[in-house]
């Protein structure tokens, strides 16, 4: 099936006075219709920026400096602001971490939903309002017919995030970009929101790009996952494979350092050091200073995504031409 979204060799740069920083470097992936792609990484890995680039909301002075973003085969990375605004909402819905930044505090949630529905679907007022109430019911807001006339501040955090989800979905976009949609929520509320997002995506056949640092959320929601590190994709593949048998030493370290809930371990696996700053990304593989498997080639040549088993990893361990053999798959579970 032709992918709904295709990102090819995306490069995002930030000009600063000390030179141009490359925040995303050669990021490529695609999302099939109805698929949920999880994008995971630690802070500064560039996962949120990937989402922002796709919805055309890169914060200045950030700019797309190379590559293409295609939605249904049409390029959207070079559109003007007005054109992009029409695509946002109608074809791509966005959900952010903090629901308060998405909702306008001066309008009732109903007015905001109705406006979006009318703008993008061209329905009349009464019909749009009926739809708005329908969406609020669908995202699980009790007494939706009354709450539709409430202002955002009258909702609790979890309920507000539900409203944001309704707002992102109400124009029936084909793709949703959700950036840390549950991070600001408590665990018990998180579970409700995840279940809701997952159910809606499945029922409506909506594709989703789910950006989060929480591997648990990805494991539970995504079909495929892309692990990002220092503005590059380190590994991508089916979620089960990447979680259980990570191939890239970074993803392996990341999975192993997550404290398990079901047992106590004496010493958690850890990755020493920290992710490099954008101004100091090492030559070759960006992970090489922290990598336990590092060898000569990693220091000079940047690895490309190489197929290994069911996943693809940007690691020279998996190139037959390298002088080194693959390590054993991570023992896990």
């Amino acid at each position: 099936m032709a992918p709904l979204l295709e990102v090819r060799d995306l490069r995002v740069e930030f000009p600063t006075r000390r030179g141009v920083l490359t925040a995303l470097d050669g990021v490529s992936f695609s999302i099939a219709p109805g698929e949920v792609l999880g994008v995971v990484g630690e802070s500064g890995a560039g996962k949120s920026m990937t989402g922002a680039a796709i919805i055309g909301l890169l914060e200045p002075p950030g700019r797309i400096a190379g590559g293409q973003i295609l939605l249904n085969g049409k390029r959207i990375d070079n559109l003007r602001y007005e054109q992009m605004r029409r695509i946002r909402g109608r074809e791509i819905g966005a959900i952010f971490q903090d629901p308060l930044t998405t909702l306008n505090p001066l309008y009732t949630v109903g007015e905001q939903l109705v406006e979006t529905i009318q703008t993008h679907l061209g329905l009349d007022g009464a019909e749009a309002r009926k739809r708005a109430i329908g969406w609020l019911e669908m995202v699980g807001i009790p007494a939706a017919a009354q709450r539709v006339d409430s202002y955002p501040h009258e909702f609790s955090g979890g309920m507000r995030q539900r409203v944001v989800i309704a707002l992102a979905l109400c124009a029936e976009p084909k793709l949703i970009v959700a950036d840390e949609p549950t991070t600001a929520l408590d665990v018990s509320i998180q579970a409700q929101v995840i279940a809701l997002l997952k159910g809606l995506a499945r029922d409506k056949g909506t594709s989703m790009m789910l950006v989060t640092h929480d591997m648990g959320v990805i494991a539970e929601t995504a079909d495929r996952v892309a692990v990002m590190y220092a503005g590059r994709i380190a590994e991508t593949g089916p979620v089960r494979e990447v979680v259980k048998h990570p191939k890239h030493p970074y993803s392996a370290g990341l999975m192993a350092s997550i404290p398990p809930l079901d047992r106590k371990v004496e010493h958690l696996a850890q990755i020493d050091g920290a992710m490099p700053r954008l101004s100091a990304i090492p030559r070759g593989c960006a992970f090489n200073p922290r990598c336990p498997e590092v060898f000569a080639r990693c220091l000079v040549e940047r690895p490309v995504l190489l197929a290994t088993g069911a996943t693809e990893a940007a690691c020279w361990l998996y190139d037959a031409a390298s002088e080194k053999h693959a390590p054993e798959a991570m023992p896990h579970g």
């Binding site: 408590d186 579970a191 648990g216 539970e220 106590k264």
Partner: protein
């Protein structure tokens, strides 16, 4: 175990006045409003062990941390440190030096205008522990090495470090007065997972080497499992369950504890449908009557709505305290079989 615990907390409570300003209140005709952040909790921490308090935001766990180090005076009840009332203990430098705190936000917990060596040395100077500039410098170097930093890092400013490194600096500062008791308020929740593992390992090493006692505050049950000897689960300012770590995870009794564990996304659960807890945490300004969890509890009955349950030994258990009428009356279906968490669940 006959040894006295390093810290005891008896019926501790802290209320905050969250009323609007007087004039507005009078104009709107409302009364005073009180937020019961912590509402009558008791526990003790034996020397050299870790007690963790877990709960969702607004449950009062951070307020407990601040009460225990004397940043807030209690509204009710008391804190006893080394057999001495906290207020008296804090008045004595030698006792005060023995308790230290590590904070959540590595970006706010270090003074941005100070060099790292001055930050780490602040307690040393305050308690006059190592006289002489050279000796102080050596001590700071030793502390930085101990937490995995270089002695040369002392010359730098906090903004030159990553979040994880800053947290190490925080730990070095806390250790510089040779404390026995550390209060750790969400020390890893602002960090990335791989860095979180570094800090947790460091804290465990330090505990083993220096015989430290920890009060560990966290919202992350998986983290808590890795570090705790005993765990208290808080909900709306109260302890609803207090049990040894293994007991809590293998046989959680309080319905809230069980719900929390159900709600956590676990890596092993790929593809499994979770059962989310319904409803949301009520406001601590107007908490529900009786048991605070009753509006969300599947086992609720009339008694739960009217009567506040006490934290008592859980029925049919050797260890562990639970504040639940259903558990007391045996309405909860008895001791649960091993919880369906983790590996056992993937078999589905």
């Amino acid at each position: 175990m006959a040894e006295t615990p390093i810290l005891e907390v008896e019926d501790l409570a802290r209320y905050f006045d969250v009323s609007r300003p007087w004039l507005q209140r009078v104009l709107a005709g409302e009364g005073k409003r009180t937020l019961r952040a912590v509402d009558g909790i008791s526990f003790a921490i034996p020397r050299g062990t870790t007690l963790s308090l877990v709960g969702e935001s607004g449950c009062g766990k951070s307020t407990v941390a601040r009460l225990v180090v004397g940043l807030y005076p209690p509204s009710k009840g008391r804190v006893v440190f080394e057999g001495m009332d906290l207020e008296r203990a804090r008045a004595i430098a030698e006792q005060r030096r023995r308790m230290q705190m590590i904070f959540q936000d590595p970006y706010a917990s270090l003074n941005p205008r100070w060099r790292v060596k001055d930050i780490v040395a602040e307690p040393i100077r305050a308690f006059g522990m190592t006289p002489g500039a050279a000796a102080q410098q050596a001590k700071v170097a030793e502390l930085l090495t101990q937490v995995g930093l270089s002695p040369l890092d002392g010359e730098k400013f906090p903004h030159e470090f990553s979040g994880g490194q800053r947290q190490r600096i925080s730990i070095a500062r806390a250790l510089s007065s040779n404390p026995d008791f550390l209060v750790c308020d969400e020390p890893t929740s602002a960090l990335d997972v791989s860095v979180q593992a570094q800090i947790l390992n460091l804290m465990k090493d330090l505990q083993a080497r220096l015989g430290l006692t920890y009060l560990f505050i966290s919202h992350n049950l998986a983290v808590v499992r890795q570090v705790s000897d005993r765990i208290g689960v808080m909900y709306l300012g109260r302890l609803v369950e207090l049990a040894p770590a293994e007991t809590l995870f293998t046989t959680p009794r309080h319905p809230y504890t069980r719900a929390l564990m159900e709600a956590i996304p676990d890596l092993e659960m790929t593809g499994r449908q979770r059962i989310p807890v319904g409803g949301e945490v009520p406001s601590p300004i107007s908490p529900p009557s009786g048991c605070p969890f009753h509006p969300r509890c599947p086992l609720v009955n009339d008694r739960c709505k009217a009567e506040r349950p006490a934290l008592i030994p859980a029925r049919a258990m050797k260890q562990g305290l639970t504040a639940c009428h259903a558990v007391e009356e045996g309405r909860d279906g008895g001791v649960p079989a091993a919880q369906r968490i983790g590996t056992t669940a993937t078999a589905l």
